[in-house]
Each structure stands twice: as structure tokens, then as C-alpha cells.
């Protein structure tokens, strides 16, 4: 049994009587202590998926399908049950560590609050745990950090605070929603290392949401590629990066600058991700931007095909795609 498993999960928003699907019929699994990546462009439904895993979609959102977590179906949970999951069993860190802390409270007590909300613990022991946690996320001089206000800390330090906060209750799943996007490159590596170390030490499973393919390389075992609310390709990260099948994934990888295409014009996928209103409800979501589309791509959603654990959703076989894209 996986730790988390989304089964045929659809998230839709009711907009003036029309149901708009932000996430459509996705299947996603995370095993205990596993690091999994969810990759896609902005607006493709990554963060909407993450928020529904926390039970925090908008009021006008509707789900169908199941979210199995530790054997329970979260899709039927009410607000009180959700609260015992959030921050305790599933934690989340965000893109913007600048704004996710209350500017008027010292960071130590803010972390401590996580313990007080979720556990029966007295303040003295809680403070001890917080200091220990600060140390383990590599914030030296933890006594001073404890007493600091968010504005006194750097972006990297704040992201470490967020990680400390997220992990202090030993959740079994950490959702990292673009945790390094707002940080500069040197700090990015440190934060990624920290997440990786925490995953190894504490056995916390991690769902890493990113648009950055090179970030997940060598970090996560498996990856899901999402486009416009659907999973278009999934499998072992190495397989996807070295042998992408789906035209979208190929496009993504081709648009990363590397040594081979140095000096040449960088590939870019034509068009942009359609907004929620513009998405058509039938057919392959990538068809309008795809270079190898055919008529049937617009009328039916391609079934998922599987080649030794590497799944993709396209009507064409890998060889056909290869041929058509290069031809």
C-alpha cells in the first residue's frame, strides 16, 4: 500500500455554472520515504494538486475520485479531520519563504506553535525541540534565530525556518511546492541538499513540485510530468530525462540549455498553457501545441500506455513520435 495514492482524481471549479477541470483524472502514487517529482509549466495544475492534498481548495471546488493517504480516503474528510492531517501528517513548504511567516511574531514561537497545535507538550520541552530542529536544519546560533523576526533573516534562512516548521511534527509526507524558485542559485543547492538529508534521516516522503527538470535530476526516483491538468508521462526520473517519450516532455527537455545545443537557437514549445476557461474537455490536452498532432488527438484522450514502468499518454508509439518529431 502506498503512502499516498491519488486514484482517478479530478478537481474542478464551478465557474458560473460551467465546471472547469483544474486537474483531470490523475493517478499518482508516493511510497513511504520516497522522493517523487511533479513537473510542469506554471498554471498546469501542480499547485492545485498540492493544495487539494492539504484539503485547501477553494470553496467552489469539487473533487471526484480518491485521495488515499495512510490507508484513509481524504476525499471524504471534514474540516476537523483535515486539521489533524495538515501540518502533522502532511506538511508543505512554498515558493515564497518571504511572505509565509507572520511578520509580527518571532520565528521561534511560530515554529513552537506547530508543536502546541498538534501535540500535547509543555512550552519548555517544545522550546527545546524547536532549538534542536533549528540546529538540524543548519541554522547555527539557534538561540538568536529563535528570537529573530522574519525580516531579520535572509531568504535562505527563512526557507530553512519553513522546513523546520514543516518537519517538526515528523510528518510522513512533505510537499515542497517550488521550494527554491525564489532563492538564488547557491542557496538553492543548499536547500535541496537539506530536503534530501531530511528525507534520508527522518524517512519523510517528499513530493517535489517544480518546473525545473535539472533540479529533480539525481534527486527523485520517480517523476510525473503534468500538462494542463493531466499527467502526460510518468516513470523513473532517469528514464524520463534520458528517454522522454511524450512530445511535451521532449519539448521541455529540448528547451533546457546544454552543451550539445550551444550556439544554436534554443528550442521552445510554441504557444502557452491554455487558461482554465480555454481548455477543451475532450482530446489530448497538449494537442493544440503539439507538432505531431493528428485529427484524432482533438477528439479522444489517448489511453495511458506503459513500457516497463514508464507510462505516457499519446496515440503514437515512441518510435512514431521520434520519427515524426525529427522528420
Amino acid at each position: 500500500m502506498s503512502l499516498l495514492s491519488l486514484r482517478d482524481f479530478t478537481l474542478s471549479f464551478n465557474e458560473g455554472g460551467r465546471l472547469l477541470n483544474a486537474v483531470k483524472n490523475i493517478f499518482l502514487d508516493i511510497e513511504e520515504s520516497e522522493m517523487v517529482a511533479l513537473i510542469g509549466e506554471s498554471g498546469c495544475g501542480k499547485s492545485a494538486t498540492a493544495l487539494s492534498l492539504m484539503g485547501l481548495s477553494n470553496d467552489d471546488a469539487e473533487y471526484t475520485g480518491h485521495i488515499f493517504f495512510e490507508g484513509k480516503d481524504l476525499a471524504v474528510f471534514d474540516e476537523r479531520e483535515w486539521r489533524s492531517i495538515r501540518g502533522e501528517r502532511i506538511s508543505m513548504i512554498f515558493q515564497e519563504p518571504m511572505t509565509a511567516l507572520n511578520p509580527l511574531l518571532r520565528v521561534g514561537p511560530q515554529i513552537m506553535e506547530m508543536l502546541l497545535v498538534h501535540q500535547r507538550i509543555d512550552k519548555k520541552n517544545a522550546k527545546k525541540m524547536v532549538l534542536q530542529m533549528l540546529k538540524s536544519v543548519n541554522l547555527a546560533d539557534e538561540e538568536r534565530i529563535y528570537k529573530s523576526y522574519p525580516h531579520q533573516l535572509s531568504g535562505g534562512q527563512r526557507q530553512r525556518i519553513m522546513i523546520a516548521m514543516a518537519l517538526i511534527n515528523n510528518p510522513s509526507l512533505l510537499i515542497a511546492d517550488e521550494p527554491t524558485t525564489a532563492l538564488d542559485v547557491t542557496i538553492q543547492a543548499e536547500i535541496i541538499d537539506l530536503i534530501k538529508r531530511m528525507n534520508e534521516q527522518k524517512g519523510t516522503a517528499v513530493l517535489l513540485i517544480s518546473h525545473n527538470l535539472s533540479l529533480v535530476k539525481g534527486l527523485t526516483k520517480r517523476a510525473y510530468i503534468m500538462y494542463s491538468g493531466s499527467i502526460v508521462e510518468s516513470g523513473r526520473t532517469e528514464d524520463i530525462l534520458s528517454f522522454p517519450i511524450h512530445p511535451y516532455t521532449r519539448g521541455l527537455i529540448a528547451s533546457i540549455p546544454n552543451v550539445k545545443n550551444r550556439g544554436k537557437r534554443l528550442y521552445s514549445i510554441a504557444g502557452t498553457v491554455p487558461s482554465l476557461e480555454e481548455r477543451s474537455n475532450c482530446g489530448c490536452p497538449f494537442a493544440p501545441r503539439c507538432t505531431i498532432r493528428s485529427d484524432r488527438c482533438f477528439s479522444n484522450f489517448p489511453k495511458q500506455k506503459d513500457i516497463q514502468g514508464h507510462s505516457y499518454s499519446c496515440f503514437f508509439s515512441p518510435d512514431e513520435i521520434e520519427e515524426r518529431m525529427n522528420g
Binding site: 492539504m54 485547501l56 486539521r83 489533524s84 492531517i85 495538515r86 501540518g87 502533522e88 506538511s91 508543505m92 512554498f94 515564497e96 511572505t99 509565509a100 511567516l101 507572520n102 511578520p103 509580527l104 511574531l105 506553535e113 506547530m114 497545535v117 498538534h118 519553513m162 516548521m165 514543516a166
Partner: protein
């Protein structure tokens, strides 16, 4: 704290208020004369060594009465503002945080209350429930509620969708905790400025109501009552009118200056 006193408005306001508070504290232990002790032989006496600020039409010592009058003003102002703040905060925070139908209904009621001139509203309440200290306080706090409710509501509406509140929800905090230990500290500064300005208007309104005979009743030494009694002797004893007038003005100016100072320091005039 030092930062606050470097603001001239706040500094001057605090100095005036401090002097008023000093008079208030002294009045608890000692007033030169009993506030109701009459001395008809000495009525409308000019300021002199025995009566530092003169006497009124019954020969009562004006200084003693002003000292007690400050007590009445500040007591009523404090009670009215703090209960107005408490209810306004509760109403505004629930309304702003949860929004929706409840918010609409509450805000319609608040708008209705705000549509009445405050003093008229207070007069209506006093006409229905009768006058006296408690009813004056109730009337003035009802007057103060809409302002606090509106400010609190707008603060909550602004912050309920902010990232740190979302983050807090994701960390599993309940609504009450988010409302009162996370959002509230962020709007305290705005509320404190409003409280100070409301304090000034409560003192004015109390004096106004007492002047009209609707607030405190003689012989209790309210500044408003002194003013209404003194106006008959405006030409014979001008100091009798001036002293309560100046006292009311100083109290109002003090709170207005403090409120302005707080507002300036919280990021400019709104």
C-alpha cells in the same frame, strides 16, 4: 517606545494627557474642597488664593469640580471606547474573516448605525433607557462600535488571503487561532490609533450629552454640566465658562494628537 516620543504630535498629546492624568490621580486622594459643598456667601468668586479657579453659582470650588469632571470624562471615555473596541473587534473579525452572508447582514446593520449621527443615536438610546452613568457609557459604546467593526473587518479581509495566513492554515491551525493570534497583532496599530481618536470623540459626546441634560445629572461634576450651568453667568464670571471649556478642549486635543501621531507612525495618514 522612544520612536513614538520622537513624533511631535504624539509627544505633545502625551504631555497634555499626562497632566490630566496627574490631576485625576490627585483627585482620588485629595480635592481642595468637597465637590458638592456649597458656600452661598462666596458664590461666583473670582480666582483667588482660597479658590484657585474661583467658585460657581452655589459657591462650589471650580478646581475641585474640574478635577472630578476629568475623572468622569476619562472614566466614561475609557469604558465606552474599551467596550466599543471589544464588540467592534469581535463583530469585525468574524465578519471580515468568514465573509459571505453573515458579513453582508452584519455590515448592513453597521451601515445603518453609521447613517445616524452619533449623538442622535446616543440621545435615542438614552431617551429609551433613561440617563445616568451606565446608560451614557452604553450609548457612547454603541456609537463607537461601527468604526471599530469597519476597521477590523477591512484588516481581516485584507489579511485572510495573505500568504502567511494560508501557510498557517496549511500547518493545521484552526480559525480562532489564525484570527486572534496571527491576524490580530497585525492590525493592533491601526486599532490603537482609532481607539485614541474615538476616545476624543467619546469625551466630546459625553460633554455634549451632559450639556443637553441627557448624560450625567447634577450635582455630579461632569464637564458638560458645568458648561451648561456656567453659560448663564458668562458675562459676570467668564472664568467659570472658560475653565470647563478649556479642559474639554485639552482632553480632546490630547487624544487627537496621540491618535494622529500613532497614525503617522503606522505608515502615513489614511
Amino acid at each position: 517606545m522612544k520612536r513614538y516620543f520622537s513624533n511631535p504630535s504624539f509627544l505633545i498629546g502625551s504631555i497634555i494627557l499626562f497632566m490630566m492624568l496627574a490631576l485625576l490621580v490627585i483627585s482620588f486622594f485629595h480635592t481642595p474642597y468637597d465637590v458638592t459643598a456649597m458656600d452661598l456667601a462666596n458664590k461666583l468668586a473670582k480666582p483667588s488664593q482660597e479658590h484657585f479657579l474661583g467658585t460657581d453659582q452655589f459657591g462650589r470650588d471650580i478646581l475641585s469640580r474640574v478635577m472630578k469632571g476629568i475623572e468622569v470624562s476619562l472614566l466614561i471615555g475609557f469604558m465606552a471606547v474599551s467596550s466599543g473596541l471589544l464588540f467592534g473587534l469581535l463583530i469585525g473579525s468574524f465578519s471580515g474573516y468568514f465573509g459571505g452572508r453573515l458579513d453582508e447582514i452584519i455590515m448592513k446593520i453597521i451601515d445603518t448605525l453609521m447613517a445616524f449621527p452619533g449623538v442622535l443615536l446616543a440621545m435615542m438610546l438614552i431617551a429609551v433607557f433613561g440617563n445616568g452613568l451606565l446608560n451614557t457609557i452604553i450609548a457612547l459604546s454603541v456609537m463607537a462600535v461601527p468604526r471599530f467593526a469597519r476597521i477590523t473587518r477591512s484588516g481581516y479581509m485584507e489579511l485572510r488571503d495573505s500568504d502567511f495566513v494560508k501557510a498557517e492554515r496549511i500547518r493545521g491551525a484552526g480559525s480562532l487561532r489564525i484570527m486572534f493570534s496571527h491576524i490580530l497583532p497585525n492590525i493592533v496599530s491601526e486599532l490603537s490609533a482609532t481607539a485614541s481618536l474615538s476616545f476624543a470623540s467619546a469625551i466630546m459626546s459625553e460633554a455634549g450629552l451632559s450639556y443637553l441634560g441627557l448624560g450625567m445629572q447634577p450635582p455630579s461634576p461632569s464637564l458638560g454640566i458645568m458648561l451648561s450651568e456656567a453659560q448663564d453667568y458668562m458675562l459676570r464670571a467668564p472664568w467659570y465658562v472658560l475653565i470647563p471649556t478649556i479642559t474639554i478642549a485639552l482632553l480632546v486635543i490630547a487624544f487627537n494628537l496621540i491618535g494622529d501621531g500613532l497614525q503617522e507612525m503606522n505608515g502615513g495618514v489614511k
